[in-house]
Amino acid sequence: MSLASVRAAAIDLMDEYAERIDEDRLEEWLDLFTEDCSYRIVPRDNVEQNLPVSIMLCTNKNMLRDRIVSLRNANAYNFHYDRHFISNVRVSPAGESVWQVRANYASYQTTLDGQSRLFSIGRYRDKVRMEGNQLLFSEKLVIVDTFSVPTLLATPL
């Protein structure tokens, strides 16, 4: 695949990712990850101090599935709508059929009575891989600038 076509596919993947979260299709959102994926949300401050603690850490897809099942069945959190904006998508080769994808994100939350706030801003440092004819996330690393998390963090970033 040419880098240009991977870039186009990576942007599609990011757009799909944002849409499935924002439309609360989290079970389908899981389909965008490889089985051996990792998913991490880390405070920027920890990254800068070289400290390993995450806000959310899933080291395989089953853990990610568990998160979503827990969200649906066990956790109570602030009712809200999500809206993601992803920009500055950059793609570079990172091995055989693997690419690094970097991007910025902004995630807004809107309450059920229509008040919106900027919930989180930060960057993605991801790895994507071709599986069959589909590009999937094998690593999702969300580095959060807004690491003093407002209220709580339930739905994925």
Binding site: I41, D45, V53, S54, M56, R65, A76, F147, L152, L153
Partner: protein, 430 residues
């Protein structure tokens, strides 16, 4: 007790009038969560009062000159290690015009210099020098009676226990060990008995009154009801052996439990009988919730609240402190400092990192607290008369219990709170 009219609009010069309704603090007026004058009085009488505030861990300051900026209540402070190896805590406010002296979150320095007019302070807060003190070419400068010794950074009193650093604004605060008391001291020594390694931080900003968080920690029975993840997977359920302990003055608390001391069917029956949702979830990957026994006592859950701003928790193998920082009556921040032991294997460190999923702003068994506090803050706004009801575990004397179906320590919190605030009702329980 004589009946008094509730008066939410308190005057800073006068003692606010609080109608507690009962002397045992089983009723608490909601307006205390919103009133700006009450908040102001809390800063003066509690955070700057005869209490010990948690400000960090010595492990965060390995070298001379290592500093971190922090908050005591809402007051900015600098915490640093002085040349003699001792921890010092100073108000982070220039003795000149009041600017923040240290703007960084952390670093290492030989002295602290305010950028505004370059006043320079030593690691113990002493004013070392200021530019143009004697003027320039015989003109300007400070007056002859200007005394450097009077204009250093305001110092707090500092005491540590097992590497946990506390600071107090008051010289007449009880000695730290007396203030904390033997039950909580044992808990600190248990958790900090070996050299620790800080693994990282989580921060969370909750839009509610700070007292709601202290109540939340002291209400030992919400855990298995609000945090459904925890009860479903047997991490902490009220059917396990456990209880609550307090210090003699009932201002601090320790909630503890042992995993494996109840069985699934007993739990299931009891919760069904109480009409609590039992979803019987099963994790596809249960690695994260495994408890690895690392202390002799077999306790798998120990959450300790130290008045007024600290929590030290062991939730399975997740270890952390939480520092509460107030930001007005309707907002506070939690700083979670997660740690393990220097002697941990890489595998154990990874296990602790996995278990960080259970705590903090996205914690599978803690995220609900943020929501519970915010919905309370929103619902009690503008309410001059109504009170919360605190009588799980009974009314009357405040005492330790060998079960967790109670919110006794919440009444303990209010009793000490009222004492410090000078708001105790006549014949109050302590």
């Amino acid at each position: 007790m004589t009946e008094r009219d509730p008066e939410p609009l308190s005057n800073a010069l006068n003692t606010p009038v609080v109608n507690w309704q009962r002397q045992d603090y089983s009723r608490v007026p909601f307006w205390l969560y919103h009133d700006p004058q009450i908040y102001k009085r809390e800063q003066e009488r509690i955070f700057k009062g005869p209490t010990w505030n948690y400000v960090g861990l010595e492990a965060e300051f390995p070298n001379v000159g290592d500093y971190r900026t922090s908050l005591v209540g809402e007051t900015p402070v600098i915490v640093n290690r002085d040349r003699d190896g001792k921890m010092r805590v100073m108000v982070n406010r220039c003795g000149h015009r009041g600017a923040l002296v240290r703007r960084e979150v952390r670093g290492n320095a030989k002295e602290h210099i305010c950028i505004y007019h370059r006043w320079c302070y030593d690691l113990d807060g002493t004013l070392l020098g200021l530019p143009f003190k004697n003027g320039l070419k015989g003109k300007g400068g400070m007056g002859a009676d200007f005394d450097m010794a009077e204009h250093g950074l305001q110092r707090l009193h500092v005491a540590t226990r097992a590497g946990v650093i506390f600071a107090s604004f008051r010289a007449d605060a009880e000695p730290l060990e007396d203030y904390i008391g033997p039950t909580i001291i044992r808990h600190i020594d248990r958790i900090f008995g070996k050299p620790i390694r800080v693994l990282g931080y989580q921060r969370q900003r909750i839009y509610g009154n700070w007292k709601l968080y202290l109540e939340n920690q002291r209400d030992t029975y919400h855990g298995s009801l609000l945090h459904d993840f925890q009860s479903t997977f047997g991490i902490s359920r009220a059917t396990q052996t456990g209880g609550v302990r307090m210090d003699a003055r009932h201002r601090h608390n320790l909630t503890w439990a042992m995993t494996g001391t109840d069985d699934d069917s007993e739990f299931s029956h009891i919760y069904k009988d109480n009409k609590v949702h039992d979803s019987r979830l099963r994790l596809l990957d249960p690695t994260m919730v495994k408890f690895r026994r690392e202390y002799d006592d077999g306790i798998s859950l120990a959450i300790c609240g130290i008045f007024p701003n600290a929590t030290i928790h062991q939730i399975s193998n997740s270890l952390a402190t939480r520092q509460l920082r107030t930001s007005g009556p309707g907002e506070f921040e939690l700083l979670w400092t997660l740690f393990g032991y220097q002697a941990d294997s890489e595998e154990m460190t990874n296990h602790r990192l996995l278990q960080a999923n259970m705590v903090g702003p996205a914690g599978l068994i803690s995220m609900e607290d943020g929501e519970a506090i915010e919905i309370t803050q929103r619902a009690v706004v503008g309410e001059p008369d109504a009170c919360s009801v605190i009588e799980m575990g009974g009314r009357g004397p405040i005492k330790d219990l060998d079960h967790r179906i109670n919110d006794m320590p919440v009444r303990g919190f209010w009793s000490y709170y009222a004492e410090l605030m000078g708001l105790e009702p006549e014949g109050a329980e302590r």
